[in-house]
């Protein structure tokens, strides 16, 4: 009896302890639901919006010495809706009929670009080791103990109150007001709404201002929970809170609230009881060790994979979207073959010339940068397969790359294996991992597949990397994760120039494989599925095999590229090369330029490696002006502008899913065809 009473007391205390963090998740989940219901956007930039308001509030309170009220008004009720209005006017107004995946990619771009832009504009840097002030006086220092078991401070009580009030008010807005109805109607179909007399532009603008204000309020309320203020913390929270939003299937406010609170309670109760049980039952110890840091991501992945309701519903789409034309074929397939031959010849000449100049003239820095560009292009070809060809969004390509890199490190370090053999084995292991991952997520599509793969990336980061047979364990602690350069017979790739040659050979080989895949049966099957899964299934095409193959090939390419990257840097450098956020950035770069073509991947790799040194540091202009001394004073431009500009490039994806490169190719092809037609006497 006493034992049972103690258990109940511990359970109740665990629930009380989990309530503040549960409220955090609920707050973000409510924000997700609000944004999705009012704009149709699964807003991964929610954390970025929250961060901006939290950072401005902090700056106003601490740097400018403002009182709570004006700081709150400025950061939450002025800045946040302003950001929402700007985003709506410049970006999302034009994307209303785009697919949910397209919008997701745009929000990924914004999630990396907005914090950097704000940090630059407000001259704000990350804050560490500081108690972030909340919206009530002495919020962290005054405690209340309503149940006699666990004390809450004022900041936490304020946050919990806002969560409850917010749920009620938003529920009333959607259920009982004409405005709420209009917002939902505009999301369903802006064109039909306008036919009904709804000013969809105004409604959409209000919806974005409202959801952005909510994000701002969430940021200010959440910030005191941490003793640091940096955008990655907010992004991680958002990923965790997706689990709560998923419970609400992105549309139910009460379920999102319960999902958030439930997640907080589950984690706290888990942390209360599992360590004790592990003391009594040693076989539980490995579970405790591995589950504790990754629990939120496992919960998220499990919800997505095991809950059949998720992913089974039809993606919200405009009923009139059928009148929109289907995505056009690749430009190369439409233009005159002589023009294609000419441009390809020109491309070969250009790259050959540049390659020779680099090979013969460049110093170690530029050889390294061009090598990195070739390797990144190889990795990006994995996105060409999974996103460009199969139409799926994978946010764990970095994890597959890491598998290849760690495999080379382990096999070369432990077994003294040939590095090139280890590279092939690493690609094979990555392929197996991709195939295994594809099985549980097969039925998911669109946004949910993207989120599931993101959860996998965070799981890999939290659990897999710390295993000694992956991350290196004691060996890595002593000497890091160093990787040697390969040898092939008498050819030693230790020199930078010979390794550049190897990187180019690998890139060309993988490019041929990708083109063959795209042109073959699998590729055409994937394209058919991408166009219309229902139509493809009706003629007997099975999506299962094709998608498994796509995931497998894509993972293998990423693993191969990851191994090459580790060899190039002579170190795995997991955090900077393959962390969960890197996959997001990669995706944004590739899809913005062109996810469907090899040229797009090459351009993306070049942009990733060369944009900063060539343009931001001004090397290109210095070369044109014959010397760094002649450069204008604005150079070098800060490196974070690469993130800002690439992030905003994602906006182009939703407008031109074929990418900027393909889009410009098509436009030039149309122009040339028109001129040719005019020359031949045809009417334009």
């Amino acid at each position: 009896m006493i034992l049972a009473a103690g258990f109940i007391e511990d359970l109740f205390r665990g629930i009380l302890q989990g309530t503040p963090s549960g409220a955090v998740y609920a707050l973000i989940a409510l924000g997700f639901v609000l944004t999705y219901k009012t704009s149709g956007v699964f807003n991964l930039a929610f954390g970025a919006q929250a961060y901006i308001s939290a950072a401005l509030y902090f700056k106003a309170r601490t740097s400018w010495g403002w009182p709570i009220a004006p700081a709150l008004i400025l950061s939450v009720f002025v800045l946040a809706p302003l950001v929402g209005l700007i985003l709506e006017r410049l970006i999302f107004r034009h994307l209303r009929t785009s697919s949910a995946v397209s919008k997701l990619v745009v929000t990924i771009g914004l999630s990396v670009a907005l914090p950097e832009l704000f940090n630059w504009a407000a001259r704000f840097t990350a804050v560490a080791g500081r108690q972030i002030t909340g919206i009530v006086p002495d919020g962290a220092g005054v405690f209340y103990d309503p149940f006699g078991l666990y004390r809450y401070n004022r900041d936490e009580l304020a946050m919990m109150a806002v969560v409850l009030v917010g749920t009620v008010l938003l529920g009333v807005l959607f259920r009982f007001t004409m405005l709420g109805l209009a917002m939902r109607a505009v999301v369903e179909s802006p064109r039909m709404s306008e036919l009904s007399g709804i000013a969809s532009d105004r409604v959409s603008a209000f919806a974005w201002a409202l959801s952005s204000t909510f994000a701002g309020m969430a940021g200010v309320l959440i910030a005191p929970r941490f003793n640091s203020l940096s955008s990655p913390d907010f992004f991680t929270l958002v990923v965790i809170a997706v689990a709560a939003a998923a419970i609400g299937r992105l549309v139910s406010l009460p379920r999102a609230l319960l999902g958030g609170l439930g997640l907080g309670w589950f984690i706290a109760v888990f942390n209360t009881f599992l360590p004790r049980m592990a003391d009594d039952y040693s076989w539980l110890r490995p579970f405790q060790e591995n589950l504790t840091p990754s629990l939120p991501f496992i919960v998220l992945f499990a919800i997505l994979v095991l809950w059949r309701a998720i992913g089974s519903e039809r993606e919200t789409a405009d009923p009139l979207s059928g009148v929109d034309p289907p995505p056009p074929a690749l430009a190369a397939s439409e233009r005159h073959y002589k023009l294609t031959l000419f441009t390809r010849g020109l491309g070969v000449m250009f790259f050959t010339t540049v390659g020779l100049v680099v090979y013969l003239q460049a110093d170690v820095l530029w050889i390294s940068l061009v090598t990195k560009a070739a390797i990144m292009a190889t990795i990006y070809l994995s996105i060409t397969v999974i996103t460009g060809t199969a139409g799926q969004i994978s946010l764990c390509q970095g994890s597959f790359g890491a598998i290849g890199a760690f495999a080379v490190f382990q096999l070369a370090d432990r077994y003294d294996m040939s590095v090139l053999t280890a590279m092939v084995i690493g690609a094979a292991i990555a392929a197996v991992a991709g195939a295994v991952l594809s099985l549980p997520v097969l039925r998911l599509g669109g946004v949910w597949l993207a989120i599931a793969t993101l959860a996998f990336a965070f799981f890999f980061d939290a659990v897999m990397v710390k295993f000694s047979w992956v991350g290196g364990g004691d060996t890595a602690l002593l000497t890091g994760t160093r990787v040697p350069r390969p040898m092939l017979g008498s050819i030693d790739f230790a020199s930078d120039k010979s390794f550049l040659a190897l990187a180019v050979i690998v890139l060309v080989t993988v490019s041929v494989v990708v083109i063959q895949l795209r042109e073959g049966t699998i590729g055409r099957t994937l394209v058919a599925l991408r166009g219309s899964e229902v139509a493809a299934s009706s003629i007997g095409i099975s999506p299962v095999k094709a998608r498994i193959v796509a995931f497998t090939v894509s993972a293998a390419i990423a693993g191969l590229g990851g191994a090459m990257l580790a060899m190039h840097q002579q170190n795995v450098n997991y955090i900077i090369n393959f962390g969960p956020v890197s996959s997001l950035f990669w995706l944004v770069v590739v899809v913005s330029l062109s996810a469907r073509t090899v040229e797009g991947a090459v351009m993306a790799g070049s942009a990733f490696a060369l944009f900063e040194p060539l343009l931001l540091r001004g090397e290109l202009f210095a070369w044109i002006l014959r010397g760094e001394d002649h450069l204008p004073g604005l150079f070098p431009i800060a490196g974070n502008w690469r993130i800002i500009l690439f992030g905003f490039m994602a906006i182009q994806f939703a407008r031109h899913p074929e990418g900027m490169v393909e889009h410009s190719k098509r436009r030039s092809a149309v122009r040339i065809n028109r001129r040719l037609a005019a020359r031949n006497g045809a009417r334009p």
């Binding site: 989990g18 080791g129 203020l229 913390d233 820095l365 940068l369 900063e612």
Partner: protein, 493 residues
């Protein structure tokens, strides 16, 4: 229609890019949060090679690595000056970064994109610049003044590129690094460029003879005696050891702390009452259940391997659950005056350990006095990051002096590795034997470890730090595990 849509975006993008570019060309008068550090050429006060600078008035002490300035025109006793050639000018050709007037170095570090929010590159550069000013003021080295040729912000991820740029440019004799991601150290070592680093990346420094840290990383998995000693100083007995599950370093560190308590439990009457090396990084879910379990285990001392943000969260949770004044904490990374001051009395009674002699202890050497004089004069804080730059710069100058007037990169490296077998920066750090301490330290093999196991710890009191040791260092002999009381030590003595 689409063209119209593009127009506002294109205009905004252009304006934003232009503004960003112009922002970087500012005059540096921004507020503290300003993040841009363009490569700069530091124009130090010219040092003329004339009698007015009386170079003979400065001498260096090899045993302490100090540079001492006197008013005499010649050394009192030339026999005790190990570097009588320090003013000898030898014309050098084809030595990167060296002209008849200057010896130039490059500094690479993290400023933008620093997720920790701490002053890294700026403070580090200040430490180096202050030391160079100090040396230049005394006449420079070999008739040349020391200058920082360029400061490169690696923006967190660009360390390798900047290292390769320095290698390709060939404008610097040596490189200094204070970075959060040390991806370029291997390239600098391969290029045989003497590289002096803020050594928070021990794994990237080991087995690389051209990489010199402000300290070296000893055996990470081994037990220590300083933690049990700190526990006994706090009159505590039941210890909790905490670490992050996601970080192998943090896990190993917390295991090492727990093993250390276990090893000396009989002698000191202490024991591990709670152990958790699976905490989520950053404690996003708080640490309520864990603190409850520590209370149930009667923990009265918490030793952690976590960052200062987590220590604040932990202290707040202890306060919430009403036991903050009953539990002493050991902080590994909280030697930050602003951090402790802003926390009020939250950390009172806690301990912080350092890898250099804490500022709260008197180290009576010219090098420390010069630091206290020159760093504030250059606008820098008396803090961990500036002294890291100061110590690195001192070792660089020591290497130059060891190399002789006809120096080059390799002779600087060799000079340190051959002759500096007990380098302590005049008592600011535990002595390092650079002839053998480039190698990774493996448990049970003391060949490459410190000769002494030392700690310089301070106590937090009234929102500030206070010294409680009789000397800057408390030391135990390495190579043995038996318990003994520490020996108060002053390496400057």
């Amino acid at each position: 229609m689409s063209r119209r849509r593009y127009t506002p975006l294109a205009i905004c993008a252009c304006l934003v890019l232009l503004a960003g570019a112009c922002g970087n060309s500012g005059d540096g008068e921004g507020e503290a949060g300003e993040t841009t550090v363009p490569p700069t050429t530091i124009e130090d006060t010219p040092v003329e090679k004339t009698e007015t600078n009386t170079p003979s008035t400065t001498r260096a002490d090899t045993s302490t690595g100090t540079v001492t300035t006197t008013t005499e025109t010649a050394p009192d006793n030339p026999e005790i000056d190990p570097y009588p050639h320090r003013d000898d000018f030898v014309a050098l050709e084809d030595v990167p970064g060296v002209s008849d007037d200057e010896i130039a170095v490059a500094v690479i570090g993290t400023q933008q994109g620093n997720p920790l929010g701490t002053c890294i590159l700026d403070c580090y550069v200040t430490g180096i610049r202050a030391y160079f000013d100090y040396v230049n003021d005394a006449g420079g080295i070999y008739g040349r003044r020391l200058v920082i040729e360029e400061v490169l912000d690696d923006n967190l991820f660009g360390n390798k590129d900047h290292a390769l740029k320095v290698i390709a440019d060939g404008n610097s004799l040596a490189v200094f690094q204070a970075t959060l991601v040390a991806s370029g150290w291997g390239d600098l070592d391969d290029a045989d460029i003497p590289t002096f680093v803020w050594n928070i990346h021990g794994t990237e420094a080991v087995n690389r003879d051209a990489i010199f840290g402000n300290f070296v990383v000893g055996c990470t998995t081994c037990t220590n005696r300083w933690l049990p000693w700190l526990v006994s100083q706090a009159d505590a007995g039941r210890v909790a050891a905490l670490g992050y599950g996601i970080s192998e370093n943090s896990k190993v560190c917390s295991r090492s702390l727990a093993d250390s308590i276990d090893l000396y439990s009989a002698e000191l009457g202490i024991e591990v009452a709670y152990f958790n090396d699976n905490l989520a990084y950053g404690l996003p879910n708080g640490i309520g259940p864990e603190v409850t379990q520590m209370i149930e285990a009667d923990v009265d001392f918490i030793a952690s391997c976590m960052d200062l943000n987590a220590m604040l969260t932990l202290a707040q949770e202890l306060q919430r659950q009403g036991v903050r004044d009953q539990v002493t904490m050991y902080h590994p990374n909280s030697y930050d005056t602003g951090f402790v001051e802003s926390a009020g009395d939250l950390f009172d009674g806690d301990y912080v350990s350092l890898l250099f002699a804490a500022f709260e202890y008197e180290v009576d050497t010219p090098l420390r006095h010069a630091y206290n004089q020159w760093v504030p004069a250059d606008g820098g804080p008396v803090a961990e990051q500036t002294i890291a730059g100061w110590i690195n710069a001192d070792l660089f100058v020591t290497g130059l002096l060891e190399a002789g007037p006809a120096f080059d990169r390799q002779s600087v490296i060799d000079g340190i590795n051959t002759n500096q077998t007990s380098y302590s920066a005049a008592g600011l750090i535990t002595p390092i034997d650079w002839s053998r301490q480039h190698t990774a330290v493996v448990e049970g093999v003391a060949d490459h470890d410190y000769e002494l196991e030392c700690v310089s710890a301070v106590r937090i009191q009234d929102g500030g730090f206070v010294g409680f040791q009789p000397e800057p260092w408390m030391c135990w002999p390495s190579g043995t595990q038996g318990w003994s009381e520490p020996v108060p030590t002053d390496f400057a003595g």
